[in-house]
């Protein structure tokens, strides 16, 4: 049920868009209202989550370190894995965001003969990297529908993505890559017993939703083609705040648009929000400088400082009686 439930939900959402446009004719709802609502949920929710996380206290300085700390001058510091400056933290975050540094450290513990062995496991890192970079390129490529005139950089990116000119319209390499990567990420959750045990419906739903968006998009581009000029008119209407309903676009477009709307609307309220959360990870975004800079715990109650001089003054008689030396003398 943890797998079937989200799958049925995704298929139902696709069916809703298909029936809603093809048979009920609700083009304005699926082409205008829902995309705007989804965008509002995406932007508003994203900012809300960031601010909410930002408001939480940071009682300790807890960077995780994976290299030599800044020490004596002749000890070579690992400036990225154990940063002591802001620049080092930026470098570390860039590695984390762009190439998933900490996922690269993934290990697998296995019984090798009689002994227990720990080995490197890079498949998840590779799958995640392929998926995220394909996703980025696909999102940037889609800007061609939202900008007029289309910037040269977007066209160049598209040209590079369709480099092999297979078929007409030319096959995008990222389409192949993203389907492979998503399939891998799904299969991984099903076939590895440990991962399967801890996978929840809200792990599978985003995967199915992403696959749904991608498959609808691929079907639209290569199989059930739609009037691309009409699609651009709809998209341009949305981003110029003069939304229009264009007749004669196939229902597959509305399935794609609706699933994408659900995805971005759902984004801030789901685990997908790791996109914004990664920069707020306290173990990653802090410099390991707790020996050089005092970190003040915001929970510290506002107490008056009681110095040793005051303490000594208060218990002077008792200290003298016990024969202890006094600083004041």
């Amino acid at each position: 049920m943890r797998i079937v439930g989200p799958l049925i939900l995704t298929l139902a959402l696709a069916a809703v868009a298909w029936v809603g446009t093809q048979y009920a004719g609700l083009y304005a709802v699926f082409g205008i209202v829902i995309p705007y609502l989804a965008l509002a949920s995406f932007v508003g929710g994203f900012v809300f989550r960031l601010v909410k996380w930002g408001k939480s206290a940071v009682p300790f300085r807890i960077p995780t370190t994976c290299g030599q700390q800044k020490s004596l001058p002749w000890v070579k510091q690992n400036k990225i894995e154990n940063p002591s400056s802001f620049a080092g933290v930026v470098g570390r975050m860039l590695l984390e965001v762009l190439v998933f540094r900490s996922l690269f450290r993934n290990t697998k513990t296995e019984k090798q003969g009689e002994a227990l062995g720990v080995g490197s496991a890079k498949w998840l890192w590779l799958g995640a990297l392929v998926f995220h970079w394909s996703m980025l390129i696909i999102v940037l490529r889609h800007l061609r529908f939202f900008l007029e005139p289309v910037p040269g950089a977007i066209m160049a990116l598209e040209g590079a993505d369709a480099f092999f000119q297979i078929g007409l319209p030319a096959l995008y390499l990222t389409d192949l890559l993203i389907v492979s990567a998503l399939t891998f990420l799904f299969v991984r959750r099903v076939v590895i017993p440990r991962v399967r045990y801890l996978s929840l419906p809200n792990d599978f739903f985003p995967l199915f939703l992403l696959l749904g968006v991608v498959i609808a998009g691929i079907a639209m581009r290569y199989f059930f083609r739609v009037d691309i000029e009409g699609v651009k008119e709809v998209a341009m209407g949305l981003v110029t705040l003069h939304p229009v309903v264009v007749a004669g676009i196939g229902p597959i477009f509305y399935v794609h648009l609706f699933l994408a709307s659900v995805l971005i609307g759902y984004f801030p309220w789901s685990k997908l929000m790791h996109a914004g959360g990664i920069v707020l990870s306290p173990t990653r975004n802090q410099a390991n400088d707790s020996r050089a800079v005092r970190h003040v715990n915001p929970w510290n109650p506002d107490l008056p400082v009681h110095t040793y001089a005051e303490y000594e003054d208060e218990f002077k008689d008792k200290l003298v009686k016990a024969g202890l030396p006094l600083d004041a003398e």
């Binding site: 601010v51 930002g54 040209g159 007409l168 000029e229 110029t240 705040l241």
Partner: protein, 129 residues
């Protein structure tokens, strides 16, 4: 907020990035192009008829051209019978561009608008043969 300035700056940057198409289009957004059918060959036709219906051609013309190219180049099959029984030569220069001689207003206007860069014109010069 701990380091609230940076968090707000990041949130603002995120909004700017996501809403950038809205902002860019405030300044200049070109309207959708109109495809022009105003050519001498089309105007001279009694019944204005293409090799397939307008709806089909709008969505699938690239597919048809791809098939025609493969048929001609690989199989030497040059004749195409349309739904109405009319027989056409499978030729971009000889059939399509014969009527649609206004490549810039007919082909390019939509292709540019949708940022499609077909490689037809790598070989064909866009003039009727």
């Amino acid at each position: 907020m701990y380091k609230g300035g940076r968090i707000i700056a990041f949130a603002a940057l995120f909004c700017l990035a996501v809403l950038s198409p809205f902002i860019v289009n405030l300044a200049n957004a070109a309207p959708a192009p109109e495809t022009s059918l105003d050519t001498p060959a089309i105007n001279a036709q009694q019944t204005k008829e293409c090799v397939a219906s307008t709806e089909y051609m709008k969505d699938n013309h690239m597919q048809l051209l791809d098939e025609w190219r493969n048929d001609v180049v690989r199989d030497g099959s040059r004749e195409y019978e349309s739904a109405s029984g009319q027989v056409y030569e499978k030729s971009l220069d000889g059939t399509c561009l014969e009527c649609h001689s206004n490549r810039e207003e007919f082909c390019d206007s939509c292709h540019d608008y949708a940022s499609v860069d077909p490689y037809c014109w790598d070989c064909h010069d866009g003039e009727a043969s």
